[in-house]
Symmetry: C2
Subunit: 335 residues, 2 copies
Amino acid sequence: MHIKNILNKLKEDDNQAYLLTQFTNIKYISNYKPTSFAFCIIKENPIVYASEMDMEIAKRDSSIEVKKYEKFDVMIEDLKNEGVKNLAIEPSLVYSTYEKLRDDFKIESKTYIEKERMIKSSSEIENIEKATEIAQTAFRQLDVTSRKESEDVLAFDLVRLMIENGASRESFDTILVSGSNTSLPHAVPEHKRLETPILIDWGAIYNGYCSDNTRTIVYTEKEHEIFDIVREAHDKAIKAIRPGLKCCEIDKVSRDIITEYGYGDKFIHSTGHSLGLDIHETPGFSLKDDTVIEKGMVITVEPGIYLEGEFGVRLEDTVAVENKARIIGDLEAML
Amino acid sequence: MHIKNILNKLKEDDNQAYLLTQFTNIKYISNYKPTSFAFCIIKENPIVYASEMDMEIAKRDSSIEVKKYEKFDVMIEDLKNEGVKNLAIEPSLVYSTYEKLRDDFKIESKTYIEKERMIKSSSEIENIEKATEIAQTAFRQLDVTSRKESEDVLAFDLVRLMIENGASRESFDTILVSGSNTSLPHAVPEHKRLETPILIDWGAIYNGYCSDNTRTIVYTEKEHEIFDIVREAHDKAIKAIRPGLKCCEIDKVSRDIITEYGYGDKFIHSTGHSLGLDIHETPGFSLKDDTVIEKGMVITVEPGIYLEGEFGVRLEDTVAVENKARIIGDLEAML
């Protein structure tokens, strides 16, 4: 089904083939996820060139033809023999591969698959729901507030709990940090006993699909004050989501609230990102993204306020867009 | 020191600047490792453009000037104002960024940093040694042979032990697999009790630097027979390493041995790869790599035989090239 849609788009743009190297795009199309490298070519007879090392799993998992990758030139010859002149590539293709293609083909970068992946099927949404359920169950089982352990050990305990609850792994490097570390949006857990506040940004992978949540456990009056602002920005942004609006309008809702309270310059990232097979997908709730929101999108809402050298607060939930936004997982029980 | 070397090479090639986006290359040059994206430009006055979100850690860690990234166009204007006409890029630069540069600059892809990184300093080697020591200590503390746990839980226990022993994290997704899973070089641990044989491919990161080892615990006569062949290929390849030889000659040593025993077509990957800030660096002991071996290189030797549907055996150590190869860590105590 996906392949048919892509073939139609290729035809419209007068491209005869589409080269994929991104692992999750290849997985989306073929159900085979490479472990080192692979080339997938969408054309009338789609094919995956897998490394020798991957042949066993590629043959096991792929829904399209698999050939052993021998040499780049062989692939180019195959394409030329099939009459491919205009070749679409992903924007993420590395320059060194582009260099080997540009003399033989007219190259154009296209986000056909990313656009296809924006709208999740019901089974994709079920996988994201299951991943979220696993991650949230693990979180409830973790003893954070007694603060008996160090950040890094607790982060790993959380991952182990996710695995025990059925995750194949974590969806990104778990952030479980405390004290002034919380003012870094991408902080790394350290080998030190937990201080306060405590910020946990974590997710599981289930059946290839990611979940993503953030909770901040606050203690002092000032931390509570900041938390309430972030909570308001989070709740109102989620309430504002509706098919037909633009993504940037949702970013504006949360950013305006935080700005009104005087912390606009402390909200140093965008309001949210889509997720699925990747933890970061398009579209996102950001200032510059004017993609129109559609049913079937799955996007995070994660406003934050970061007071450098002091502390930070972020609150993140993932929503599925229906007639309005439905929060995936259990918000209230998690706060 | 590194920057000076790169500036000299730039001059030789008539390039005025070198754009870096690869995180470990930026870390190598500036000591700041980006968490989402960054642009580092090596020129007379080298600079890092960091995302707003990373500004706090970039300012903390970077040894070169840091500027907040605003817009791509601003960066292009800065470069043009400084008289940059010929711009070197990394081969891994993504096409979408190349596309935004090609109208304003003459672009050439260069591996200046990768070449610099081939030869490790003594402090880099110390970090790799420490990472190896941590990983091997954790391995000794892990109870694998009682086979009481599942592959995935044991894999996580190994990671936790590495963390407890001082690793910042694992250097790649730990492979701890058993039974017929061992015939997949990049197998993923499953939620099932350990069968036999057991293959563990694991490593730690210490101070940014990776370690990499593989051990296979064999049981049956046939498994022992295959193990002995792999061991011979491993030992003789390591013995053959000498500055002045080409990397492909070392691959040939281990491949010839395995081929003599009739398993040449079951050795489905190259003999080894360099490591450092990345788990896979250049050069590698592969058929096609004619890089001359030099003192200061740190490379893995990891022959394997994979019998599809049955089992696989791999043995991997990391060596530092001196007058000959010195195995990092403790080989005998680990077998």
